[in-house]
Symmetry: C2
Subunit: 553 residues, 2 copies
């Protein structure tokens, strides 16, 4: 068989995408001759550049928002622009959902919906929105090159020159990945920028990848999501942090890691220069990080604990501090941070010893979710970093430390640590019979329940009661018993038997504070290297500039 | 506690990396005023820019090689440049190992060493080289941002302008990722280019990321690794391809996938427009690909099977064909392919339904390796794509089709398919008692045995005897029995019991060709849409330009 025998579709055009792009750009040429679209014409421009049924990727991660473009999109005429398939890392702003209520868009694939999680759940129930899938960040980015290739990308940058070169500065985040997916598949790339200038500090995205830029009056929205005020760290959190440092970090020689956001991990960061120093751990643990630039990491950086930090994104107020500490951070020749969510998530998956996270609910098997009744919060980056990557092949001391078998093919594991108090504030138990996620998944007609971290991936659980070394358990029953043993007086914790707990303790599967030489009474706030934001500023030599809402002086 | 109480290391400099870079560049200023280093001065330039103990990332993947720079590095004076820690995706060229024999480098982290696998194993045994770790590609890239941050990156591009902007064209591959790791951490980036011109077709890497360029006489080495001549496809491979299409692709509605390189998958690609067409599968399977631009995919593209292909790298001879088919491929505004190994591996991990690979050895549990006695071949991309990614959260029909439990938290799986004939050419059994990798790993003092794909990740096994649906097995014993049942007269195959095989067949855990309506006698070479390279060229309307070694006319 050969081309003459098999029907070859010789009539078809192979440039339909390119032709469609050219036609749209020609249509727009009445509004602009170059790459610059005047802000006041953006709604009309979107009505010209976007066609019904298009896949539109809108930036949109959990920090930086292309807020001008999302507002403009929400104002287009739904007679002209409709049936859009939106792809967004994060559903963060009201107009992200308004486009569905106004019948501009009908389908969405996303990763996170923290601030809008209640409304998302309601809109699904009301059938105002169709969810394609909920993803971890880089899973969604991957699909941009496979089956969710965008027709249009709407992104945000700090500055552009007239040729479309973009400077994204500290908040490069996911912008290059979104632009690449559209720009190299004959999609249309539109970037809102805070300023057009011919003198860019550096080029983060080449102008030939970008079709249009718009200079906006109001800078793109940027949230300080990773700032935790040490003032709110409790002594229970300090106790858990001490247990984690001794019972996990030190025990397993953890040298590279990611911390999720939260007060538990903030406490750990603030104990390194004090409690960690006393234990003689500097230079032995916590040297390399995949992490947003947490202000609570400043004392550890200043005390010489940290060799390198690669960042998913920036953090409001940390800009000058980072510029003055290039030995610790990735920075450009201009001196400002270079973040990259795609590469940092990749590193956080494959190249670190440990992920430490928290959750709102955990079931008896160790499955956990931040989805609670009526709220569909999505996943963000946790599923990516909070699992044992099956493709990993290199060994580190911590990874190899997880080997529990003498099989010649035995391999190590990534440490996946969950730190939770047994009760949330409001007295809701964290350890529950069944995750609310199961019911929410059913209500939203999701293909699978929205579990954040699966129990089979969790190697360690830390509560105020102790540490469970789940990686040592060799059956589901034993894992359940270990979890119950440190689950306090929650429904799951009440199922434990004292005798079994003692056996697990003797077997080294659970440890109470005293088993790892920690006195509960030592867990004092005075141990924190900084007890409030002002002290973080002092540590930073005044370089950290906290947003107003974190200032109390 | 606060900064006044905790010892703050106030004396330290926070710009040691930046200062070191500046000093090296100043030292080099006697040789060049701008970014251009004359080719004849490169050895001396490397002796100036690289310091003892540096981490040097050398491109280096399995296709494109920075061959001029690796040759130059192998000629430096080992009194001046020594104790280097090399980081290379692929050990491909003799001088990649000469630098160790000449005592310029002492340690290596890598992903693949196909062409040099024998010498690598020997040098480890002779203690001429210390291996840090062997990785899958994106695992190694991840470490470039965590604990293997390079001081120097030596890369290859097609063209540069005098400001250092790089055009990488069809072979962008891993260059942007390597450059980002060094360029944003005060490392030194040196790019060899085939040509310096002020008129770049497009910019793939901004000039501000690049310190130096060198124009070389001989273009960088580029191998046509993904070209398989259909002439060498056997009827057994066609039979296996038919079984795979019916028994796996069609059965599970596989819409997005990756194919490894090999004649088994080439046969599948060439059967889509013939056998697949007869089955009415066009538009139902195999629409979206993460794949190098295999020439054997041309007939399927031309017949309208393929909606999109994202490429790890380019393929020699496919350039003009790709330029003429932008509806199928990712291309830039200049019309040429944009490949990206990092993003395509990411997509291949998280965003496709299926990975199909092959192997040289498989043990009774389904673990497999391409490592054979005395050869340490490394991994490439297979471990990344050939496992079930634990961070995946979205569902597709194929993924959901793998669910075998009614647990409310049950989830789907990635299809990981191994296609092997029971005997290799040379009559070596593929199914063996113990992988050679175990002994090779011991000899090379590796932390873990170099297993390519773990049996627990394999969902399907296809041999000339039949298909084993390993995802349906519910114990290791059952998995072993299923594997043995289609392992022919190999040591493992001879362990099977006919009675057990019949039971597995009734349970749908294995299928023989007749069980999926395939007649062995139908497996004829006449089914191939192209039977030789010349027919591939015909299919391409003469756009595919095969390298000389594949031309027989």
């Amino acid at each position: 068989m050969n081309p003459t025998q098999v029907q070859k579709n010789t009539k078809r055009s192979w440039t339909t995408r390119r032709d469609a792009k050219r036609a749209r750009k020609e249509e727009l040429s009445r509004m602009t001759t170059g790459k610059v679209i005047p802000a006041e014409h953006m709604v009309e421009a979107l009505e010209t550049l976007i066609k019904p049924g298009d896949r539109v990727v809108l930036e949109g991660d959990n920090q930086k928002q292309a807020s001008f473009l999302s507002e403009a999109l929400s104002k287009v005429n739904p007679e002209k622009v409709k049936r859009l398939h939106m792809i967004m890392s994060s559903i963060s702003r009201p107009e992200h959902l308004d486009v569905f209520e106004r019948n501009i868009a009908e389908r969405i694939d996303f990763a996170f919906s923290g601030p809008q999680s209640l409304r998302v759940a309601q809109m699904i129930e009301d059938e105002n929105i169709t969810v394609g899938g909920i993803h971890t960040y880089i899973e969604l980015y991957g699909r941009l090159f496979i089956d969710l290739i965008p027709n249009v990308a709407l992104v945000a940058a700090d500055q552009a020159d007239s040729r479309g070169n973009l400077y994204t500065g500290a908040n490069t985040e996911e912008t290059p990945t979104l632009v690449e997916a559209a720009g190299f598949r004959d999609g249309i790339v539109i970037a809102q920028v805070n300023e057009i200038t011919e003198e860019l500090p550096r080029v983060d995205i080449p102008g030939s990848w970008v079709d249009y830029i718009v200079e906006v009056d109001k800078p793109y929205q940027l949230e300080p999501l990773f700032t935790r005020d040490p003032r709110h760290i409790s002594e229970i959190q300090i106790l858990m942090a001490m247990m984690a440092i001794r019972g996990v970090y030190e025990k397993h020689h953890v040298q590279s890691l990611n911390h999720g956001v939260g007060f538990n991990t903030a406490a750990i960061e603030l104990l390194l220069p004090t409690f960690g120093e006393e234990l003689g751990l500097k230079g032995k643990i916590c040297k390399h990080w995949a992490l947003n630039p947490h202000p609570t990491l400043i004392p550890a950086i200043e005390s010489g604990w940290i060799e390198s930090i690669h960042c998913f994104g920036g953090e409001v107020g940390m800009e000058k501090y980072i510029e003055a500490r290039p030995d610790a951070f990735f920075t450009g020749p201009d001196g400002t941070l270079r973040s990259n969510r795609t590469l940092s998530q990749l590193a956080g998956q494959y190249a670190v010893d440990m992920f430490v996270g928290s959750t709102l609910q955990m079931d008896r098997d160790g499955n956990s979710s931040t989805v609670t009744s009526g709220r569909l919060a999505g996943f963000g980056g946790a599923p990516n970093m909070g699992h044992d990557p099956g493709g990993r092949r290199h060994a580190t001391p911590a990874w190899s430390n997880m080997i529990t078998s003498d099989d010649p093919l035995a391999r190590g594991r990534k440490l996946v640590v969950q730190m939770v108090e047994t009760f949330q504030s409001g007295n809701e138990p964290v350890f529950v019979e069944s995750l609310n996620a199961v019911q929410v998944g059913k209500d939203a007609k999701l293909d699978t329940a929205p579990v954040m971290i699966y129990g089979s991936d969790v190697t360690h659980l830390v509560t105020e009661e102790g540490v469970a070394y789940l990686y040592k358990t060799d059956s589901l029953e034993e894992r359940r018993a270990a979890i119950a043993s440190i689950a306090g007086v929650t429904p799951i914790g009440l199922e434990r038997s004292a005798k079994q707990a003692e056996q697990l303790r003797r077997d080294g599967i659970i440890a109470y504070p005293e088993d790892i030489n920690i006195k509960r009474t030592d867990a004092k706030r005075s141990l924190l290297a900084a007890k409030n934001v002002e002290e973080l500023v002092q540590w930073s030599d005044g370089l950290y500039e906290p947003p107003a809402k974190f200032r109390s002086w």
